[in-house]
Each structure stands twice: as C-alpha cells, then as structure tokens.
Assembly symmetry: C2
Homo-oligomer: 227 residues x 2
C-alpha cells in the first residue's frame, strides 16, 4: 500500500544542522572582530564553521561577496535616534552611532577601505542625517556638503582609533604609550618646538578616543550649522 509522505512545509530552504548564509556571516563577523581582517581567510572561516573549505561557496560566490554581506549587516545595525529634541543633538547621536560601529567592528572599517560599498543599508542613516541638516536650516546644497563632511570626518576618526588599537596590540602591553612619550621627548626641541611643548596634550588627545571624536564633531557641527 502507498504511504502518504509526512506533510512537509512546501519550502524548506534551511535544512537543520547545516550551513546557511546567516551562520556563515555570524562566523565571519566573529572571526573578523576576534583576529582582524588579515586572519579572515576562507579556510579559517570554514574551520570556524566545522566544514570543508569549499562548503561556503555553495552560499556565496566568493570572499568578496561575503565581505559585502558583512558590511551590509554591520551597517544595518546602526540605530536611528529617537527623533525628539533639537536637530543638533540628534545629529550627534547619529554620528556617534556610526563612529562606535566602526571603532567596535574594526573589520567593517577595513572592509570599507578595501572595497567600494555595495548594497543599500546605509541609506537610512544618510536620509536621516540629511533630514536633520535641513531641519537645522541648511539649504539643499549646503546640507548635502555637510552630510558628506560628517561622514568623512567620522570615518577618518574611526580609522585613527582602529590604527592606534592595532599598534597597541602589536607592541608589548602598554609599553607603547611610554615609548611614544620618550620618542617625543627625544626630539630636538629647537626643530619642533610646538610638538615637543605640547607632547602631553597630544598624547592625551590620541588616547581619548570617543571624547576626542565628539569634540571634533561638535566643532564641525558648529561650523556647518553656523550658529
């Protein structure tokens, strides 16, 4: 006699206990944040997933496609500000969100520098920024220029911090700060009087991270919004 096969959901795209794009991206982000972009290898990714190297290629065309997908996922994590209060405060909130994303996920930044950005995840952030700048009284062309400037500064600041963290990892723990200080002190004060004189303040500024970013952001917004 014929047995009716067990009722089955018409589309069972994700067989249990096996690979899928989401699991791959989870592993990719974890790998990137843990060991940095240069350790992000197809072979390492597959090992992280407990799978043969080529299994990943069933879900992504290649490494570049994974990089794009990781970028899109991370940029999608940025949360938009609540939408109340004066535009200046909301702009700061939004920009700090972007800054924190990039400095907490150095991978995203490295990926951003190594490949042009595809996908449309960041558009929500851009749209909100523009809206806030218009609300703050800027005309369309000034708002567009301001939005680009804000993104440029944010990316640059994050890049700075990531580089510093990277340098700290490479050096013996915490010896870096002293090393920089001594190198600054060893410079001929006659040739570089300002730099030698301001060495402590410079080290402090380099060290402050998000506070430094917010100070610069505040100044930039002052200049952009005018008053």
């Amino acid at each position: 006699m014929t047995v009716t096969p067990p009722a089955r959901s018409p589309r069972r795209r994700v067989p249990r206990n096996t690979l899928n794009p989401d699991r791959i991206l989870d592993a990719a982000v974890a790998l990137l944040d843990r060991h940095g972009p240069e350790a992000f290898t197809m072979r390492a990714l597959a090992q992280e997933l407990g799978v043969g190297t080529m299994a990943v290629y069933s879900h992504f065309k290649g490494k570049d496609e994974i990089i794009d997908a990781v970028n899109e996922r991370l940029l999608g994590e940025i949360e938009l500000p609540s939408g109340t209060g004066p535009p200046r405060g909301q702009l700061i909130e939004l920009c700090v969100g972007v800054y924190r994303l990039f400095s907490e996920h150095p991978s995203a930044l490295q990926l951003l520098t190594s490949r042009p950005l595809r996908g449309d995840e960041p558009i929500a952030v851009i749209d909100r920024m523009l809206c806030l700048l218009i609300t703050a009284g800027l005309d369309p062309s000034a708002a567009a220029r301001a939005q680009v400037a804000l993104m440029q500064y944010t990316v640059g600041a994050a890049l700075w911090v990531v580089r510093r963290n990277r340098a700290e990892c490479e050096e013996a723990e915490a010896g870096l700060r002293e090393k920089i200080r001594s190198r600054l002190a060893a410079l001929p004060p006659d040739s570089y009087p300002s730099l030698v004189g301001l060495a402590p303040e410079l080290v402090a500024a380099q060290q402050s991270g998000q506070a430094q970013y917010e100070a610069g952001l505040s100044a930039l917004l002052d200049g952009l919004i005018r008053n």
Copy 2:
C-alpha cells in the same frame, strides 16, 4: 713588479647598474600608483626592477619594511607653507597639502590603513599645525585636540575620494554616475524623502573632491578656532 691597485674611494656602497634602496622605492611607488596596492607584490616589484625576486631582500627585510619606507618617503614630500599671512590660511594650505598627497597617492592611504605609521617624517607637518593653532589663540589642550581632528578629517576625506575613484575604475567608464543617479531615483520617496529629494546635490558633493574637502575644512576650522 707590484702594481699599485687603482685608487679607490674608500667606501663604494653603490656599485653601478645594480640595485639600491632608492631605486627599489622608486619602483614601489610607481607600481603602487599605477596598479594599486593589491598589485604590489614582491614578485611584481622585482620584475619591475628587472631582477630576481629575492634580490630585493638584500636591501629590505621584507614587504613590511618597504611599505614603511614608501610611507615615510611620501609623507616627507609634503611641503610646508611659506609662513606668511594669517594662521587660518596657512592651516588650510597645510591641510590641503596632506589631502592632495593622500588622494594623489592612493597607495599611501591604503598603506596608512594597513600598517601603523612608523618613522618620523610627518612630525614636521604636525609641529607646524600645532604652531599655527597656538598662534590662532588656542590653549595647549585645545590645540592638541584640534590638530588630531584636522588630521582625522583629512584622512577621512581622502579615503572617501580614493574609494570613489576605485569604484569608478571598476565600473564601465563613466557609467557609475548614471547608475548611482538611477538607483537613487528608484528608492521609495516615502521611506527616504530627504535622500531622494537631495539626490542631485548629493551626487554633486560626492563628485567635487577637493572643493568638498575645502568646504568641510573651512567649517571645521571655524568651529575649532571659534571666530
């Protein structure tokens, strides 16, 4: 009879017609600017020099050491402003110099993001910036923060431009601009009203490069110098 050997300069470090560190760095910079960082290969470099792959290793420890040397050479090319006129104008001149270096030598920027900066070439630039900021009336700690912010913004802006140029190269010639415009037009105006409404201005801002940089720099300086 004994012939006195021909008088010889006591140190003849650079035998003619052969490799030396300078020739290697020339070739490295040329290779980087011509084909980008991912084509910068020890094998390609040796071929550019018409020499076996391992010859380079007689002059540099490895690829990283060459990267550091290239960075130092490029940063040393930045010219300091003449030293006359109000500090604001000199600061702009100096920052634009850094910006142009990075956007004309994408290699330098990529290298900057891939390795912490070693060597002391950029110190002259930093010293001059600090000096100008103090002259403009900032106190030491504000000057230090301002200097870092200026560098962060400059690096970020250059990174932006380099990424855009890279994207343009990858696409079929000049089709990119139209593509972006059409993708912006295809977005749902209800979801992203500001972005869709300001699309032409945004494209213009992205396209303007150094003018966009100078506009943002001017705003940032306004905010930093206060008045």
